[in-house]
């Protein structure tokens, strides 16, 4: 029971077996090309033992490294028959070298002027750059808006028109809803605010909400003269 308290993630201590190995090499200030394999293996196993006692969840990777170390150690003990026999420790040195190279590469990457950290780019609102003296897009007046609204009302099926339920959405709630749409997308078309299956009462509330938002200068409404699509922009 009490052991649970000490249930530590291995990542908090050593990222992996390579990190533990490097920690030991560094601690003893030994040359990676001349690792005192017996000493390092002994200490490595002690660490694992300690981790077990501390109830640290030991990943299989640590065990694999332990067996590699033990294997190298035993091969070192065997008398070498031939001069040109490869040093068994090379099996360890090459991966360590590679790992250190990659660690150094990671450090160098982290030291660069990072986008979003040290330097930033422009986040342009494209319509702003096109809006200036834009002939094709005109600000929408109230009449155009009402025309569009009438079209939407015409599209509501008669069935929906009579079906007015008690829990209608208030204008203020609707404004909040519309603002939420703006906050995720920045702009919306007029028609999108009126779902096809909307009830008449909701359509009216939506329309009143838009008018209120225009009055409060919360939105800018423009219409593309070519397509007739009315678009609302959040200011």
């Amino acid at each position: 029971m009490q052991a649970d308290i000490y249930n530590v993630q291995i990542d908090d201590i050593f990222e992996g077996p390579m990190d533990l190995l490097l920690h030991l090499i560094k601690k003893h200030e030994v040359d990676i090309y001349d690792i005192p394999i017996a000493l390092i293996t002994k200490q490595y196993l002690e660490y694992i033992e300690w981790m077990k006692i501390m109830n640290i969840d030991i990943a299989g990777d640590f065990i694999v490294m332990a067996s590699t170390l033990t294997k190298i150690k035993s091969r070192m003990l065997l008398p070498s028959h031939e001069e040109e026999d490869e040093d068994p420790r090379l099996e360890l040195v090459k991966p360590i070298e590679e790992y250190l190279r990659m660690k150094s590469a990671a450090e160098k990457l982290a030291a660069r002027t990072l986008l979003g950290e040290d330097t930033f780019v422009r986040n342009p609102r494209l319509e702003d750059h096109l809006m200036d003296h834009e002939a094709e897009i005109i600000p929408v007046g109230l009449f155009e808006l009402i025309d569009a609204f009438q079209k939407i009302l015409e599209n509501i099926s008669p069935h929906e028109r009579v079906n007015i339920t008690a829990d209608t959405i208030s204008v203020r709630d609707k404004i909040v809803q519309i603002v939420e749409i703006f906050e995720t997308r920045g702009s919306t078309t007029f028609n999108e605010l009126f779902p096809k299956d909307a009830e008449q009462s909701e359509v009216i509330v939506t329309f009143l909400a838009i008018l209120e938002m225009v009055k409060l200068s919360l939105v800018r409404i423009i219409q593309n003269t070519r397509t007739g699509i009315i678009r609302l922009f959040y200011l």
Binding site: E15, L22, D61, S104, E107, L109, F120
Partner: protein, 180 residues
């Protein structure tokens, strides 16, 4: 077209991603690659000379106007940047992919000595790496590579621009020191 420099500047100001010379050339129609390149060089020199709030960077194969790093703290007061904040483990994994790409997961894990499934997923989600395809060996493992976003984030012109890792000679090396 005498004001090619100004037009390019206006394009650079509007674009969201680095603009390649070819892209600019196609927009401008008349001028050739060389004129576009010269205009960009002039703009860059101009920004350097005036030492204002921004500079021109060649990055991910294109050009981009970026704020000067010295003003980062002020900009962070203005916008809530999506922090890059990669853990040491994630950075190492990313470095391995960057230097060894195209690479499969087991090769990455072989170098790092640990499982890195979660990290790969995170790097994929953040669009720093991408799936290149599958290796035609048993199990058809996924091949990973870095993205354009990686180049942009780390301010690299291209993959050749990657900093060379220190060759590790002996203990006491900088990398070993910085391990903690």
């Amino acid at each position: 077209m005498e004001n090619i420099k100004n037009i390019i500047e206006s394009l650079l100001l509007v674009t969201e991603e680095p603009l390649t010379i070819d892209r600019i050339k196609n927009i401008l129609i008349e001028p050739g690659r060389k004129e576009v390149h010269n205009a960009l060089t002039e703009l860059s020199a101009e920004y350097e000379a005036r030492k204002g709030g921004f500079l021109l960077r060649e990055v991910a194969g294109g050009y981009q106007i970026r704020t000067r790093p010295e003003y980062r703290e002020w900009i962070k007061r203005l916008i809530q940047p999506k922090p890059l904040r990669l853990s040491k483990a994630a950075l190492e994994t990313l470095a391995i992919i960057a230097y060894k790409q195209p690479i499969i997961r087991s090769d990455i894990e072989h170098i790092r000595g640990v499982n890195c499934g979660g990290i790969l997923r995170m790097l994929l989600e953040r669009k720093l790496i991408r799936i290149l395809g599958r290796k035609e060996i048993p199990g058809r493992p996924i091949i990973y590579a870095t993205t354009k976003q990686f180049l942009e984030t780390f301010d690299l012109k291209d993959l050749k621009d990657l900093p060379t890792p220190e060759e590790i000679a002996t203990l006491g090396d900088a990398s070993l020191e910085n391990m903690e």
